[in-house]
Amino acid sequence: MKDFVNNSIDLDDLPDFESVYLKGSVKTYFKKMVLQWAIFCLVYSLILLALVNLNWGIPIWVFKISSLFAFFLVLLGVFLSFKRYRSIGYALRQKDVIFQRGWLMKKTTVIPFNRIQHVASKQSFLDKKLGLAVLRIYTAGGSGSDISIVGLLPEEALKIKEFIIQLIDAEERTE
């Protein structure tokens, strides 16, 4: 305790978490989001087509509006995916990990290494095909403070995971 009571700390001298350079996600992540969106839109169009051919007496103007809506949906999806892809960034510092995401609602989370409970790297089916990985970092703070660093290369995710695990282990040994 005594080491920490130190009133003369100058806030300007402390490392600033906001001025850290954040590493962005790989371009494949943008591709993945667009691909997911394309699949969704494809299903939507197929349902529309099927309904047109089924002749259930739905007036044709409904389909016209739906198709127009679908077109804007495609544009909106691509736009939002791009914004999200550009908004993602992460950084590892000596003592903590910083993760930023979101365009409409930008959120930056900082988790000190000595508060991390465990780390897991995950790959969905699509991730495996495209060569992507997600790194999930769990804290005791519950879902609010857990983070999923998306848009990583598998080897990158593995490297970070091992780095953090080794740090946590070292911490536990000194305790």
Binding site: L14, F17, K95, T109, N114, T139, G141, G142, G144
Partner: protein
Amino acid sequence: MPKKEQNKLFAIPQNQNKLGILFVFLYSLYKFTRGLIAIFLYSALTQKLSNYWFYVTLGLSLLFLIVLVFSYLSYKNFKFHIDYKNYRFVLKQGVFSTNTLDISLQRIQQVYVKRSIIHRIIGVCSLVVESAGSSDKEIEIKALSEDKALALQQELLALKAEESSVNKELSNDLLKEDLNENDFEQAEDSLLKNNVEWTYKLGLKKLLLLGLTSNYFRGLGLIIVFISTVYGQFSQFVDDNAYWKGAEEYLEKEYTSVFEITLVLVLSFFILFGLSILVSIIETILKYFELKITKKKESLEVEMGLKTNTKWSLNPNRVQIVTHSSNPLQSRFDLHRLQLALIGSDDQVKKNSLIIPGLTLNKLLQIQNFLFSVKLEKGEFVRMNPIWLVKRLVIISLLTGGAFFLNYFVGWFRIELLALILIPVGFILLILQIFIFQRSKLAITPNFIIKSEGVWFKKRKYIELFKIQAISVHEPIFLRKRELVHITFHTAAGDLRFNYLPKSYCAQLNYLLYRVESSQQAWM
């Protein structure tokens, strides 16, 4: 060696108190009755079952018998013991199948004694053991004599403390044996001395006062929930359309002037108000009956409740957020409330928070001093950016105006009636926002995060910096130009959020991170 054997009270597998049969029996009957009461009431009212009384009696006796056998078997097959060698608490249960639960003492989070009304009638109590784990987080030994329950509680907590200290100091198995011997004696000593520092009891008079000065909106809410539940239960049986029509006609005929409508509104308001006070008092008494706090050297024991009497043993490490609250009436009578957010085994924050009401300021400060690892210090408070207030004011004005505008076209209500309700409500809401704005404050001191909030019911929340798990900064797009952010502090027992702060305030977060990252203190 014989001395050591004596200590191991719970080494052999044992049953609960024999009264446990009675407890399980009564409890199951209670549950059955609750489930079947609607059917019985319905059939009694309509006399549909009166022709089959023989079968009904037969069925009921059979049910009785089955429940009795079930109770006996569940008593007989329920066995628990402590495995002293491996530091585990072992529990076997199951009526037909056998289920063995095995908990490492180290993972036990909390042990407390609980007493429901059935427990009190029979004269036993139950012991609840909470552990941190993915499944089977909570186990309950349903019927123990009070002495035994307390002894088991002490034993589990002492062993848990001992094991973690052993783990920390040595991992050498050879030395472990010797050390155990010493620790047993130490644990026993502390048990014998029972080092009580002080106790605090909440008398009936203070309890009544507390109910009288508490939040009536809660009482009102409870009334509304009660009425809607009862209505939902009985609306299936009663044809209510006739009533509604009658009421509507009556209203249309009799109440035509604004004055009369006002009178009815004011009168029903007062009746509802009186009922709310009554319900609040009853709820307070039920929840906090015989509140008793015992301060021991290393723990704080809290006991309360009429319907279910619960006893907690609090360790400062488990407390993550401390909230001190009071309203002007209560603080005049020196009644203060302390709410403690505890580490839970899952995300449910509400469940894992302990409320201790009716404390004098002096006692409250004493408890806070015990819970905090350092002395509380004063800090420099910041407020939300005034943009927040402007936004709220605009939204309320727009909503009120919009309601009038809509009504102009739809014409559901008469304009006088609408004005009578909306203008005062809108005005009160506007004033309220100003007070909310004034009261919401945040400070980061060298050791604490302090947040003030609440207009009537004033709250102050404290988090010790080393208990922070992570920080999040939100920048919604509509606030980016103004350089405003929302900050969330995450702890293991819930979050604390403060909105509309200037971005420059993030410099304080650098200090906070520095404190967390250089801290060697265990946060739990």
